[in-house]
Symmetry: C2
Subunit: 419 residues, 2 copies
């Protein structure tokens, strides 16, 4: 068997641990020089393949590659770009194969969410039809935790640890201030369609009365009257109320709460943060002073607070992807299989890409309490191991010491392609 080159691309929103997966793909590939020649990474994800901008990872030192394990963001650039359907835009898929052929790429590793697994599957189909030998392996990644066929998605555990920690810490702050000042604290978290991250906030509360007091899930239509009654009750009991809300919260009419029809001084429509909308609603109706927080990218890039479990799984899946490819397994995705909750045990499983593509995993209803405002013990049992363990990055001058790679591209061999 002659060595062939490999191509790795990061896709969609990045995470605190996607580079740990990249680290594993590169380190594992380097262990098999007789089978894998060079590993190219797409500059800005799949766009790098279309534009033939292939980063030569062989130019990076072993030391720098090892540092990827603790560096957030996407080391080679990611992209929000979904390839269209094959029938609609066959030329794009053919271009991919053409680039792969020009650089003797025999392995395609695509690290992303639902859309990416769909793309990887389509590429595997087309390469077969075109008679081009290519092994396509998807590697799961998404802070939203909404991929099927894996117990959890790398990236989620670290966001979960971040939001739960932040909620606990802010809770101690608000509790101190509530007598004369802030009585309401609202934190808006990611998750437009699935409430996994909102649920993770709930882990901060270990017994009744501890923050967060209320969770607002995208799975549960917002019932303002019921919500305000719970806020009032909470302030009466505890003196304050802390709330985590999903960016995707919507009303019974399906409209996002953040779409409030607000306008700024120039008359432009404003999509306010739902966190502020909720907090302001409480202020208007109950009169309590509020603070609200929007961690935004901070939550998904907080490598300083990554879950050790998450880092380990992100790495293991990258390594497994390479091993699967070398074993000739085409059109598959390694995933996490849970063997036990406590003590937590897991192993790597394998799913067919065609079963993963475009399927969204929502929160089971029995993970949310009957009243819709918190998580159940079943949910806690699922979430708890995912945030376990600390994996702090090395620090220099008081700050995390992250790596920036050289990211040199190999010379192009083909002409331009209009993306």
């Amino acid at each position: 068997m002659t060595a062939r080159n490999a191509f790795y691309a990061q896709s969609g929103g990045v995470t605190a641990v996607i580079n740990a997966t990249a680290c594993a793909v590169i380190e594992t590939s380097r262990k098999h020089p007789q089978k894998i020649g060079k590993l190219f990474a797409g500059r800005n994800g799949i766009l790098g393949a279309l534009a033939e901008e292939l980063i030569d990872t062989s130019l990076e030192s072993a030391e720098d590659i090892a540092r990827l394990r603790h560096t957030p963001g996407g080391a080679f650039g990611s992209c929000r770009y979904k390839l269209k359907g094959i029938d609609e835009h066959r030329a794009q898929y053919e271009r991919l194969i053409e680039v792969f052929r020009a650089h003797d790429i025999g392995y395609f590793f695509y690290n992303g969410g639902n859309d990416s697994m769909d793309t990887a599957w389509k590429v595997s189909q087309l390469s077969e039809k075109m008679g081009y030998p290519l092994v396509c392996v998807g590697i799961p990644k998404t802070v939203d935790n909404d991929l099927p066929h894996t117990d959890a998605c790398p990236g989620f555990g670290s966001v979960a640890k971040y939001v739960a920690t932040s909620m606990r810490e802010a809770g101690f702050d608000v509790a101190s201030m509530a007598a004369t000042s802030t009585k309401i604290f609202v934190m808006e978290v990611m998750g437009r369609h699935a409430g996994w991250i909102t649920a993770a906030c709930g882990l901060a509360s270990e017994s009744a009365g501890e923050p967060p007091h209320l969770l607002l899930f995208p799975e549960i239509p917002f019932d303002e009257a019921a919500f305000l009654a719970r806020v009032e009750d909470c302030v009466t009991r505890h003196g304050y109320c802390t709330i985590a809300v999903s960016e995707g919260l919507h009303g019974a009419d399906g409209r996002f709460l953040s779409d409030m029809g607000t306008t700024d001084a120039f008359g432009h429509a404003q999509l306010g943060g739902v966190g502020q909308v909720i907090a302001q609603r409480i202020k208007d109706k109950l009169g309590y002073k509020y603070h609200w927080a929007l961690p935004d990218y901070l939550q998904r890039s907080a490598r300083h607070l990554a879950s050790a479990t998450d880092v380990e799984q992100a790495y293991a899946l990258g390594a497994a992807a390479v091993e699967l490819a070398l074993a000739g397994r085409n059109a598959v995705m390694p995933g996490i299989v849970r063997l036990a909750d406590a003590p937590y045990r897991w192993e790597i499983g394998v799913a067919e890409l065609k079963n993963v593509a475009n399927v969204e995993r929502k929160m089971p209803r029995d993970f949310i309490s009957d009243d819709g405002f918190h998580i159940t013990d079943k949910c806690r049992a699922y979430l708890a191991p995912l945030i376990a363990g600390e994996a702090p990055p090395p620090c220099r001058n008081g700050l995390p010491d992250y790596v920036r790679l050289k990211n040199k591209a190999v010379p192009k061999r083909l002409g331009e392609f209009a993306i």
Copy 2:
């Protein structure tokens, strides 16, 4: 010398390390049972003294008190409540002395910012006039870092470390996404009048082109044209632009940028976050997609990311306050005196409360670059040691393990007092 009791109160916005000071005050007091009887803490700060709600810290175990060193928020409750002038509301001051007398309190430790130092000074004056023997010692605390007569304020170093870390991490995220998605990232930080926290964000950038690219200080009136030109230039050079903005940013007319005259669907005035205002302005004028973050309380409660230097100084100042009181030093505040930048060396100094009260320390102009958009090397030399060192709290179940005290009050001996 007969042992007398002591009173400790936390004041104003809490920090990640104010409890480390409380820990030091309690632990140091316990080392001197021949001089200090019980240490009472005010429930919700000075309000606890006025309402005679005195928490008996002697009921807390040594182990729990030790855990205060790594617990954020204010363990006994804080308050935003400024005593009025003595002439205006002498009854309040007399009530304080009355409560102190009823519980044989001979030492008053007030842990707060400018206003609190002013109050502590007034109380020391009045007790003298009233012939009540009382030693008043202020202990500095404020994330805003705006107290004079101390090289830095406990609480600031940890916020500084948090915002610099967050900016660096978000910078890696945005850099990955900029090709096809977010090109602008804005983080709004605390500091209504002084730009110390905004300046700290600048530490994340160690060489040209690294995030954050632009800083917007409250000390520099916002010049929209100059700012937008810099943003455009940054996107052209680097593909993206990251910005930290102080909540207190204002225009040349003195108006806060956050006061945009926006209204919500109900016609209510909305005080938008200045971070969003800035980001939206860029979108409107330059057309770039943005994300913005508002860490709010997260930045000042992030004990998980505290600066070891900050924790150490917070503790040292609490211990020094007790030692000063026992030495009979009245109406003083211990502060940090810097002996050298690198390697950083410091010692405890002593300031007169009357010189501290109501004086605000702004950023020196030569800490801000000539163009007004970043920090100078002189500023870096000042800030760098303050974020040095990690001091992670112990974790349990993947989350920081913080302490909640019993906080039992001693029986009241006086009648009600209308606050």
